[in-house]
Symmetry: D2
Amino acid sequence: MAETLIKVDLNQSPYDNENIHNRWHSDIPMATWVNPGEDFILETYDWTGGFIKNNDSADDVRDIDLSIVHFLTGPVGVHGAEPGDLLVVELLDIGAKDESMWGFNGFFSKKNGGGFLTEHFPEAQKSIWDINGLFTSSRHVPGVRYAGLIHPGLIGCLPDPKLLAEWNKRETGLIATEPDRVPPLANAPFAPTAHMGKMKGAARDKAAAEGARTVPPREHGGNCDIKDLSRGSKIFFPVYVKGAGLSVGDLHFSQGDGEITFCGAIEMAGWVHMKVSVLKGGMATYGIKNPIFKPSPITPHYNDYLIFEGISVDEQGKQYYLDVNVAYRQACLNAIEYMTKFGYSRAQAYSILGTAPVQGHISGVVDIPNSCATLWLPTQIFDFDINPNAAGPAVQKFKSMGIPLSHDLK
Amino acid sequence: MAETLIKVDLNQSPYDNENIHNRWHSDIPMATWVNPGEDFILETYDWTGGFIKNNDSADDVRDIDLSIVHFLTGPVGVHGAEPGDLLVVELLDIGAKDESMWGFNGFFSKKNGGGFLTEHFPEAQKSIWDINGLFTSSRHVPGVRYAGLIHPGLIGCLPDPKLLAEWNKRETGLIATEPDRVPPLANAPFAPTAHMGKMKGAARDKAAAEGARTVPPREHGGNCDIKDLSRGSKIFFPVYVKGAGLSVGDLHFSQGDGEITFCGAIEMAGWVHMKVSVLKGGMATYGIKNPIFKPSPITPHYNDYLIFEGISVDEQGKQYYLDVNVAYRQACLNAIEYMTKFGYSRAQAYSILGTAPVQGHISGVVDIPNSCATLWLPTQIFDFDINPNAAGPAVQKFKSMGIPLSHDLK
Amino acid sequence: MAETLIKVDLNQSPYDNENIHNRWHSDIPMATWVNPGEDFILETYDWTGGFIKNNDSADDVRDIDLSIVHFLTGPVGVHGAEPGDLLVVELLDIGAKDESMWGFNGFFSKKNGGGFLTEHFPEAQKSIWDINGLFTSSRHVPGVRYAGLIHPGLIGCLPDPKLLAEWNKRETGLIATEPDRVPPLANAPFAPTAHMGKMKGAARDKAAAEGARTVPPREHGGNCDIKDLSRGSKIFFPVYVKGAGLSVGDLHFSQGDGEITFCGAIEMAGWVHMKVSVLKGGMATYGIKNPIFKPSPITPHYNDYLIFEGISVDEQGKQYYLDVNVAYRQACLNAIEYMTKFGYSRAQAYSILGTAPVQGHISGVVDIPNSCATLWLPTQIFDFDINPNAAGPAVQKFKSMGIPLSHDLK
Amino acid sequence: MAETLIKVDLNQSPYDNENIHNRWHSDIPMATWVNPGEDFILETYDWTGGFIKNNDSADDVRDIDLSIVHFLTGPVGVHGAEPGDLLVVELLDIGAKDESMWGFNGFFSKKNGGGFLTEHFPEAQKSIWDINGLFTSSRHVPGVRYAGLIHPGLIGCLPDPKLLAEWNKRETGLIATEPDRVPPLANAPFAPTAHMGKMKGAARDKAAAEGARTVPPREHGGNCDIKDLSRGSKIFFPVYVKGAGLSVGDLHFSQGDGEITFCGAIEMAGWVHMKVSVLKGGMATYGIKNPIFKPSPITPHYNDYLIFEGISVDEQGKQYYLDVNVAYRQACLNAIEYMTKFGYSRAQAYSILGTAPVQGHISGVVDIPNSCATLWLPTQIFDFDINPNAAGPAVQKFKSMGIPLSHDLK
């Protein structure tokens, strides 16, 4: 078995583990070093560092302080990696920790980050998903079982000071256009809850005040939440600092395109077995700005889909110009409406779209004024026939508590 | 062989064929009627009605009057279909016409409609794609050959007067927000070039003045340009008028997600073999607003991809808020840049993204402020190895004229 | 459209078409010549030359004189091809003839060739399969519809005299071991029904007496009946004579591994669009004895299977030593038995195994004394759920005449 | 994490573990009991109980006493299961033991069991395969890496006395036809090396003398060596005794159809996570004689193959009658010959056919006198291009010791 270079203790606060960090900054010291060609294992917290529990209440999803996320494992220094190189990362395998064979999916309250359909699901809800070998199912969402498409929601290398400055400049600029928005347009650096790994003292405080938040995907990859960056895939990351500084976290057992529930996928603590190598000068050689990757040869091969279309006219009939977000939202709402005909609550249907390996395709972006997006629902995850037919939908008599909801506090 | 209910003569103007129309209007008479359970064949013009020619000049792409599109075959009335039903359409097969075994792909001038990357490709260009059995290749874009994912870009049923009124209202409303924009935000009804099928006289003139343009996808389907609605798929269309009134056209031999070049796919004249049936009251039973469909059991099964990421920060570094369009544009530009390292011109690479069965996924839409989109480039369409490796890209010595370009006229 | 180099008239006897032949002989003159790099179309008869009709009687299957088969189109000479080369054949597309959109499947009487399960189905039966675009279904076998996996059952190049002599020697040698067997162990040359293409006079008579029968697959390919050699595939054939001499026929719309019904697949008349090129000296360079090929990128992608096992102990409990034939026969019989639980007759189930794209895998060949073979039945071809479950099989109330049977004549 | 009901210590002899057995007998007591609906984990030895070591000598493969195999874990009793039921087993996951991340592949000497190509590889050879997450590669076979298709080679329920008697009768009958053959036609019961689980005393001795050897697959499943019975699949086993008595062992990380090297796949010690339920009376309801199964939704999806044909004429030109074994052997030999052109030794090529997920199809079994079999070699497992092309094969300069061979002892 490959060596586990960084361990995490789920009973310990991630703030007490100096090989964890929750901000991006070029000064964060390497937690450990490896040589090109080596393979090794890193353990990770779930993205909230254990705040969300395996129970039937959504209070934790309602109450979480999101400035603490995401707890990342690393950075790992790679000998010989230099700015301009590509760091080649093979995800040899990924799994949940033995003592934690479950994950969670949640909808945040609109007051606390919301989600893609926050206008429709404005309050906190949570579902728990049990992991049984290759599969997952939930006591809160009956009638479905999926094979896992296990992937890290967040992975990438440290930015250099210039790139970090650019991130902070453009994002604080956006916030400034509507500073009081709820949820906000972006998250500015925020020192109080920053965890800067091994950094200490004044240097740590300075970096904590500058460190980029981990929420958005950026040039280095980061929180891409790409479901297909799954175990078995091979990723080519831009390198900005000496040693690259690879960090990873936010593991997902399964997720749909868009991670539309925001909290978001089936979130879990676990481990990543990976191998690294360096492609010298690869950024210029191949003209790489953002990471590129090759998907895995082992993924669930669901191939029977029911596909929902959406166009860029919103729920109120308002016309947008080639807006894929509006179109995809309509496709999602259409799928939710459809699933309710079979006995699901709207929240359960939403949860399925967030957790199952649904595909979201950008189907048309040029036919003014309407974009067209498609939501691909795999029919083979259901244990009943969800296709339309002349007899009408077979309404399921689910025995389920439904998805716990916690009302906003006054 | 099933009966060909509507024929087209490629040497005749589509305006002279009364079973063709290029606007959506509830009053357009059925061109022909069929019974549920019947299968039949409809021939179609290419979307421009034959304006674009198989030659090495892009003048026609530059000069075309786009108010003439799309020339659709139909409407076909289906006995027994009534408003509220779902019309089930099986695309049994689709092909090019024997006398026209080729298709075209073009970039419109920014002055004449543009395209997804019109800022980068502001002038008219055209590539011709030969069809050889199941495959296509181009004298203008060497090094690639694809198996066809043949589909109609445009298919759907007639709107009723209420729906038509809603379309016109919301789209003219959008135009009014920036009436002088080039290209325009949407296309208003335009009588001079309208072709209203069998309609004649004053009724025809009234309908021509009201008829919705065919460019955008809408609730009824229409110009969805969904590559996966390919031969072998089964579609459930909302019915708004007695008899349904199914029309089809704008056939594509192959296309990528987004149809990013706008002109757009490999456009061809051809025929559609289809079978129709009716699912009574299906709109309410299944909660259907937009069409839903089951994809085909026979499509090219390319499964080795190189995947490019893009985020919602544009080419100038400007930050957008969760904008999938910006993210997908970046993913496309990243792929184009990459392909140039192997010897392609930027226009050739753009053409590949428009014509090959690339996938465009909405990978993340919640991680403020950046959306993440991915562009999946199938590696098996190239006759050389396009993967990154330590040796660097093998630059191809293509013997090709490149993609013809016609400068804007002063 | 590519040029049709050889046409067939289904109303004409194949014996009257000099571009057809039904024996393999090195002296058969080329029917036509092409250059490497050219693509062209050849039309073909069904393998019986039109003897089997689209009706509800199996008399023709019972009465056919099998010494007439297979009627092949060709040989096509390829300029520059020489012994030792590999002839590269791309099957660009294959289809049924417009005037003949149907195919047949039959079980021969044990007295007339039999089939893989002839002890269980000793008399002549026939089912007719309609072709509707990409799909086929049968009035004799309800409840199933398949997307076609269209392929030539028989394709290959002319043998040289030495190879021909070897074939005749080893096969007549086998016959001599049990000369009176019914059905026979092999088919010896048989002049009376030979069709030698353009040959005439004494030369023709000599060749007719020597010409190898077309039934078995041999080193050159020939009657391989490999379902995956379908349209879109690319085959590398050994070349034995100057010009190669490629012939093709016995088109199948769909077939299962093993072609177990012998008459066999869904047999049809049609056309093949192909492209040829030459790989000089390829036989030695790549160590090729039998053809090799790359399968098509477009085939039906059924991926949900119910898999039946069989071992090399026969129906009577007799033990065989590592005999895959016995094991596969058991797997087939197990699948037939299973399907009868859903309402099929045994003959209908047998017909499904012969016509649907079932897979037959050699699963174990070393665990003495039992081989293990598996029969993969695609569940997505059925319009009801054929999986086992706690509720038991849903017996279908098929309205079908069943499969016509014609008793042996006394 | 599910409970591990049976553990194995790789440092302990399997004979000292009473939850292990190496013969099939109806009297073997259940090692443990579970309820329907439960999931649990069983650990297993490799099939030889640890005899084969991770080193560079094939002495152990040469010297092993094969009467000791296979060491199975179980039997597991399932409450409520009775004769005539089907035991439904879901293989939730399978893996190697943490302390043993490797597997072996070997060719037995012809004197000690041989293999499918024993005439060509008559002496003992061994290759070691390292397991790295989802993938495997070997220091003895360079240039290839596969994603694992992890499966139990051997799994099934206990026979009842009548079935056991039938097995022994038919197999000893076969042996009697050629009792001195090397290797033998079958393996008779053999008490000296029998391990009968918890049995003791005279009852144990009697059962040891009667217990069926584990080598062949039989009606109950057993040593089927079906590569597609992999983790994620769902199997329906016939039940013959009260409690069913499910045993499992002989885990493989990867294997090709046929397990042609006999020792055979990539053999490993490991664990199986499974879930059981009972389908009452299922054998009669569904007409089940041998197990049936649904394959896994997660398997390596290699889809680019190079396919080799073989016919039933052997290496010496001898003609066989519709013998699939001979045909598949030719296809294998053709593939081996081809691979040698790229720099592999014949033994390395043979090892690839035994360990990679190659497919072996029964392509034709009715075209007298030649069967046709096809060997599907996945091209995506090679790190170089193994397709034929005009430039000829790129001979690899492998730096490898080759596959260790140990000569027969005199």
